[in-house]
Amino acid sequence: MPTTYGTTGDTWYVWCDNGTAATATATWTYWSSSTVSNVSYAPYRAPAETDEQREARETAQAERVAEAQAAVARAEELLLANLSRRQRTEYRRCQQFHVRGPSGCRYRIERKRVANIVLLHRDGSPSERLCVHPIEGVPDEDTMLAQKLWIEGGMENELVGLANRRAA
């Protein structure tokens, strides 16, 4: 008579003393017919983090944040250097600016990556929202400049053709 076979008590007793897993029908019969309510599962506990590991993780996180902030600063400097005076004022005031394409259409470019171009009616009310942006995950400020260059620089039709469009 075994003393203890872990936490499953009787089930393990039958398992270990009445045959093998492959052949002992009695073992499976017992397992299936008995309850398993006496099986306890210890919750998973991640191995404790050492001080060195925590320090390395926090340093890496701080570096990622600093890199992201530097990227935004560079992108914003490039954007501001290439906006007209009026666009720059608009951007500083409300994080958006207006551009006009060779077709005569006006667009509002907002500071975000997705669906951030609004095609405007003649009276300035929104007509459609366009979603088109660089495939590379550049900072939002670079996205805005890319869109301005495409629209003003002779690629307006290509940009509109690529965009996913929906009513604004």
Binding site: S84, R88, V132, H133, A146
Partner: protein
């Protein structure tokens, strides 16, 4: 002096060339062509007053500043 500003995930990187320097100019042209082959579009920017950029079909060493924009796609 010419300046190539290449947009990318960590913000733009800058490549400067002296038109009098053949090696630098050739390097700038090669970079421009490589980026265009990858789907980038070059825009020449005249001055620093936000004037409209113009799409560049081919590298021009006399261009003052060129911004290289990654391929755009519908989102």
């Amino acid at each position: 002096m010419g300046e190539l500003r290449i947009m990318g995930r960590p913000g733009d990187t800058k490549l400067i060339w002296d038109i009098e320097n053949e090696a630098e100019t050739e390097n700038a042209k090669r970079t421009f062509d490589d980026l265009v082959a990858k789907g980038f579009t070059g825009f020449e920017v005249k001055g620093r007053k936000g004037e409209k950029g113009e799409r560049m079909a081919a590298f021009d060493a006399d261009a003052g500043a060129i911004i290289m924009v990654p391929r755009l796609a519908g989102g």
